[in-house]
Symmetry: D2
Subunit: 303 residues, 4 copies
């Protein structure tokens, strides 16, 4: 199977699809992005590594970062992280407070905002210099020392923080935030503001397709932990569209409102897409279509 | 009908009831209150004015203050206040976020915390010196120039503010808070920290039994506004126990977690009670019992 | 105060209001009603007794009957009826199943469908010939021996019973229906199909304004029971518009989707209205407006 | 990898685990089952085919049948089945009515009761002799002509049908049941009452691991349909424990309250377990543990 040829086909075919959705308006700074950007990158376990379209342009990874904070927390807390956050799909929007109230401050999973804020709190507690240490972790797993926060985006998220501030304070009211709310949110807004290219994103996720080992051979998580994190992405990675995504694509993946998606076929490849137009559930429309084409064309899904 | 005799009877009878509930633990400063305090005061339209028990001791009026902020906002915004807050009972706990999410940031009524925070936002916008002006209003309607905030209580509420901060930020995320969240919460915590005696509380509410006129004859609200505010207290004054309260007592009233209750029989009297032990719904157990005895004994309910 | 003059004024004024809403489409048989019917009837404790408009035409009282089934159950079970149904406003639509699930099969109050079905179950248990006995009760309190079920309407409700059948089965699954589901629904559909004129309806409710005594002097409920039932109507009588109704009208009342409303001023009068056009909450638009005019014009509200 | 050896190990190891849970009490007839039954069967694509423990005893497959009704409906309606039922995990209990109300009668997925009842309605519409035709389908895919309904169990489900009757009537009220409610429920209760051995169950699911082909080579679904059905099992197969199951086991699977589970590794094997003791979410405790051991020991998960 030649991935490069397939990717070209998918890229061309995707560009003929009807244009659907718009750039996220929830963070003012992100509305400045050109909605028609579109890039794909794939890296296989065997060493194929190539991109197409705007795959070398930086974009805001936003919620895709949640997989990486969970990975880092998982690496030093292991199963203890599930004492404060669940592993069930939420059936609600990514920023809903409803389930949090019914379930007394234990977020359904770490990929909705409430869960990611709890994970951020764990990192703030365990890391000496949380923001820098997390950035170093990202740089390490991706092999890209230039990956950085976009401070304008972080500030823009802070300026329009009210829903996330509501979630963080609500969590704190249940005792599920141990640090200062502001400090945790500051970390969270920075984590979401990280910018990567499709290539960097695919490289960052390489360890999840490679039984825990990065491209450079560092064992970030155990085999078992990687399986579990992949399982979690499969059931919870696309907010309340996770079922639909799994039904159509059949590869563990995570989306962000910056329009990025990272997905992977364990022991085979990682693929990342970027297209800023979001569907009504907040997931990249073109990105999801491209991934569906990929699994349909190649038959390469986990199911 | 001799109110004084009846009040004595009720007071004596109430003291023989089983002791139920505890002082609220939601605000640390309030836990210092002696749980066995118990006072009643009644002022009639005809001029009877007397108290019993600990009716001349100051206590934190907490949510009872919500009636007075609504009255003040009502006096200058009239029906426009209902553009941002409803008049329906909530069917949920006083600090629930669930309905707020389903109803897109419009609180069910101004007596649950979310609604009171929206009213606070209105006052912050319309008053030149919000805290002082509100205090002056209270002093004016009660005729007690010494009524004041308890700054320790206000600070204690600020220190444990997370649930209210969640509500305020959530409201702001829906655009239903126009001022700075911190400024609105600061006003709200001060409003709740006001201390009164049973006597002062009964006097403050006099205008609601007297077709809008205070004891000193100032027309605070119109007859029609007073009717509406009383109706609102009847359906929403006791959180998600409002139905039970109405069923048993049948007088418009409002409770607070400081253990105070103010209730009134339009064109007849205002009665206030204070007993800090709360039932599981957050309402003063002894206070509710005393009011039930009052309506049962006298047959004086609005129904 | 001359009620007759006022009623004439209200009737004339109401007829100039914009026409809003439509006849209920939930029961096919009811869609045949002329939407522009409009009648009012008032009976005072002092003996005034007159109607206007279509006040002598029969209409389907539908949910207004719920007050009368509660009254009958209350008369022989007293406070025990609250073991199986609550007294809190629901904050949800009249036929919602959501709260029922959260609250494990105990309906919020007897005026939403679920609660009324539980009351129907009580009557089926306690009455020898449930339908006939209930009809006899209605005839007795109203003094109208010709009041009857409309069997076509009952059948039409049965044919489109799915939501109510869902509620009844759901209640049964929680153990809160003791008889056969079909038998209880049959009673319920018949109770709702009762037809009265405005005059008969006002007469039926007379005992609720008269401390428990019917026009002919029969003590149906105790004074205390009547107060409680009135209180319940005030907080729960208009589904999730009860707060709005109480805010505007300030008289205990109950509406039905046939377009009827019965309301009362304790110790003063009962007023009934009929206009089949319903607002979006399922309450008679013109009826609510007429009652609001009545309280505004006369100042006669309980608050 | 020798599956037989592994299965023996798992079987022995599982038997030393603490005994947790009890037989389902929701259907009286099922309570008669010996709680300590335990069987496993595995069939691989390569032809290995063996069982252990009570793997040749019949048990009630209950909700496991939902996969087979979906497969049959999918085979003749293809993607059109998703017009009436979703593919998202529910986040609620299997028999919840709450989401159904919020989502206007479209069940979240076909593996919760509401969704399965809608699928049953489709089959009742499309099959000439629904019960017999479905039975024939099961016999065909399993290769076991003796598989049958247990009429006592079907009757027992009918006798205690209230929750399911509530769901079916509720669906009908939204127009999402086209046939008579009783007829649909009759089909549904029969489908759930089907009895199989672990061996028969594993054989029935063989086509899902074999790209749509049964053991005898009949193409039941297309490759693509099989992938989609497997994906759906992964996200929704274990009610509101689907996330936990996926996290721990990582194989598409479906459980039933009879204590059975069928799970599969696409292109590799199908494994079935039976142990009637259920955890609090209604899934077989020992079965889930056995499957977790299987994936842990062999590393054979899809992630």
């Amino acid at each position: 199977m030649n991935y490069e040829t397939i990717l070209h086909e998918i890229y061309q075919e995707s560009k003929t699809l009807p244009i659907i959705g718009n750039v996220s308006i929830s963070i003012p700074e992100l509305t400045k992005v050109d909605p028609d950007k579109f890039g794909i990158h794939l890296i296989s376990i065997e060493g194929e590594d190539f991109g197409i379209g705007d795959s070398n342009e930086k974009f805001s990874i936003q919620s895709v970062s949640k997989v990486l904070t969970v990975a880092l927390a998982f690496s030093f807390l292991d199963e203890r992280i599930w004492e404060r956050v669940g592993v069930e799909p939420s059936g609600s929007a990514f920023n809903s407070l409803v389930q949090l109230e019914y379930e007394k401050g234990i977020p359904r999973n770490p990929f909705i905002n409430a869960g990611a804020i709890v994970i951020a709190d764990m990192l703030v507690t365990h890391l000496e210099n949380p923001k820098q240490d997390f950035l170093d972790f990202i740089r390490m797993i991706s092999g890209s020392p230039t990956i950085d926060f976009n401070l304008k985006v972080a500030q823009s998220e802070k300026d329009t923080r009210f829903r996330n501030a509501a979630l963080a304070n609500f969590l704190k009211s249940f005792g599920n935030i141990t640090n200062d709310v502001e400090m945790v949110l500051d970390f969270y807004f920075h984590q979401c503001s990280i910018e990567m290219t499709c290539k960097e994103l695919a490289h960052s996720f390489f360890f999840l397709a490679n039984e825990g080992k990065t491209i450079s051979g560092i064992q970030v998580l155990t085999k078992s932990q990687v399986k579990r994190l992949n399982a979690l992405m499969q059931t919870c990675g696309f907010y309340d569209e996770s079922g639909e995504y799994t039904y159509k694509v059949g590869l563990p993946g995570k989306s962000g409102i910056g329009g990025g998606i990272a997905a992977l076929y364990p022991k085979n490849f990682v693929v990342s897409t970027w297209s800023p137009r979001l569907n009504e559930k907040g997931n990249s429309d073109l990105g999801m279509n491209a991934l569906e084409l990929l699994t349909t064309k190649t038959g390469m899904s986990i199911f």
